[in-house]
Symmetry: C2
Subunit: 340 residues, 2 copies
């Protein structure tokens, strides 16, 4: 089953069930006004939503046209966005890039930060920033939405709580990270609003690509219209989603609708760092990684971070080449605060 949220005049948008081919959708006000409402009562809402999804597949005249650019992130705002760093290769490269050492425990103890979840960007919204000097970067990720998870849940309980799978652009401001992490309290300014692809998908819809805790497909990242990354989200994921969720729930319960992210998808190449697609590699899901590779190979980074006007597209396709989640398509734009 595929679900999306259309923009309307409400803060949480309008929940729709979307056809598998992403062409049609149906509003379901009698089941739930918005996705958080459906998640608040998933045992009741989910079978009803599945019925609508079945009808959409059986009757090609049913529903209205689904327009990805009219969609919010599936949860326009959420009660939690906890983002892991499951691809430890990415962490190691980014740390090297900012000359910070990586403790060996990072291979056994998941790294996770509490992200802001009150104001996500829509998947086709611009990334508006006041200053290019912030070092604007994309981070292509996989994320899951969970049901209620009790404090201290084990990995089996955590795996069973996964309700929906999404892909994300966890926008990062690299120029602000070193000083902010130096303060010791983690990211705040350096992690502005994230965006999620238009459609959230139930695990059963992913077929063999979903093993219960990992998604085994390439994450396609295009930067300014050219292929930039196609790292496989099922490869080099040191901590799977069950482990990330259990980690998040160690000292407090997670409310239904909490989003848990994978961190930037990143593949090693023959046990070394990755390689650009143009050089026969699988590329990168963020600019910070290619800058690190450039530093390793040539002594300094060459690729700049995103400038106003730059575009990023993030998508994932199934074995038949069909888009699963729809696409994140964002352009970086100059932001001027009102009154400034």
């Amino acid at each position: 089953m595929k679900l999306a949220t259309l923009k309307d005049d409400s803060r949480d948008g309008c929940l729709v069930v979307v056809s598998k081919d992403l062409t049609r959708c149906v509003k379901v006000p009698d089941i739930a006004a918005h996705l958080q409402g459906a998640l608040d009562n998933w045992d009741v809402s989910s079978p009803k939503l599945q019925e609508v999804a079945k009808q959409l597949e059986n009757d090609s005249s049913y529903g209205e046209k689904f327009d990805q650019s009219a969609a919010h992130s599936p949860l326009p705002r959420a009660f939690q966005w906890a983002d892991g760093s499951a691809y430890v290769n990415h962490v190691e490269l980014v740390r090297k890039a900012r000359r910070a050492e990586m403790p060996p425990s990072f291979w056994t103890d998941p790294l996770m930060y509490q992200g802001g979840s009150d104001s996500f960007l829509a998947p086709h919204d611009p990334i508006r920033m006041a200053d290019e000097a912030y070092g604007i970067d994309m981070e292509g990720e996989v994320a899951v939405i969970v049901d209620d998870v009790p404090m201290g849940a084990g990995t089996d309980q955590a795996r069973d709580a996964i309700r929906l799978v999404m892909i994300a652009n966890d926008v990062s401001l690299r120029g602000l990270i070193p000083a902010e992490l130096g303060k010791g309290f983690g990211f705040f300014h350096s992690k502005p609003s994230s965006a999620f692809a238009p459609v959230a998908v139930t695990p059963d819809d992913l077929g063999d690509a979903w093993d219960g805790a990992k998604l085994h497909l390439p994450l396609l990242v295009d930067y300014n219209g050219a292929p930039f990354g196609k790292a496989n989200a099922g490869i080099d994921m040191t901590f799977n989603f069950a482990e990330l969720i259990a980690h998040a729930a160690k000292t407090r319960p997670l409310c239904a609708g909490s989003i848990i992210g994978s961190g930037t998808v990143s593949n090693k190449l023959n046990d070394g760092p990755g390689k650009a697609i143009s050089e026969g590699g699988d590329g990168f899901s963020c600019i910070a990684e290619i800058r690190m590779i450039e530093t390793i190979n040539g002594g300094k980074p060459v690729t700049p971070f995103m400038k106003f006007g730059d575009t990023v597209r993030i998508e994932m396709k199934d074995a038949n080449g069909a888009s699963i989640f729809g696409a994140i398509e964002q352009t970086v734009q100059k932001y001027t605060p009102k009154g400034a």
Copy 2:
């Protein structure tokens, strides 16, 4: 105007308007089902809620009995909980306690962490933890709930966005903090669910005690039935709420209903560290501070962190000795995960 949220079978509870003396309340389903709903549309809901509040004061037979122990935190779950460290004295002492140096920029650049906001404790709920070795501590704080704040808002805009004032217990797990901060991504396990006193109050209701961005009253913290802290929240607050909110909104907008915390209220004494109430001082709003003072005075901390069965009570009284927000009353209890 005073607002509270009664526990019911819903996730967000039932919004009530509470009489100034905290004895009576009125449900307002025709105005808003829950507090987040009222905040989502404050311009419309607020005058209607004010009407009910006026009626409650004018007619002492109006409303039902208000029972603090039946209350949730005013927002049982929120879209954001961003907690500052405005009382830099606290930060300096806690850092000294864990032998971490404090950069001088901490006096000019606010420290703030992104907290979990999906599963707050009710004000009279127990603090349930698996292990006393986590180093369970209370942190008495002031917090505000804001309306929408655009990205890049200045301090005037930030001040104008303050809708409600609360007091909080930002439960902290001191034993987990050093290792977690050492990982570089900020707090996660070490900041479990926080609790807020039963009643949220509009700034106009605080009279002269509220100067627009600071609350000039002592925060009364009782530990195991004895006075432990009475630090004045208006003193030694290096960054006021307008500055904290503007800081939070630097690179992203804040959604209506976002909660911004002050950090542990902490007063210096004659420009030195504080002193216990039993020794004539204003005491402490967390155990970590008294342990630091003990270390300064005697070479090592004496007061242990909270054990199962320990209780904490946090309250604030107006000039006439009347409770403003009601009281946080929590007991630490052993938690055993289901199936463990």
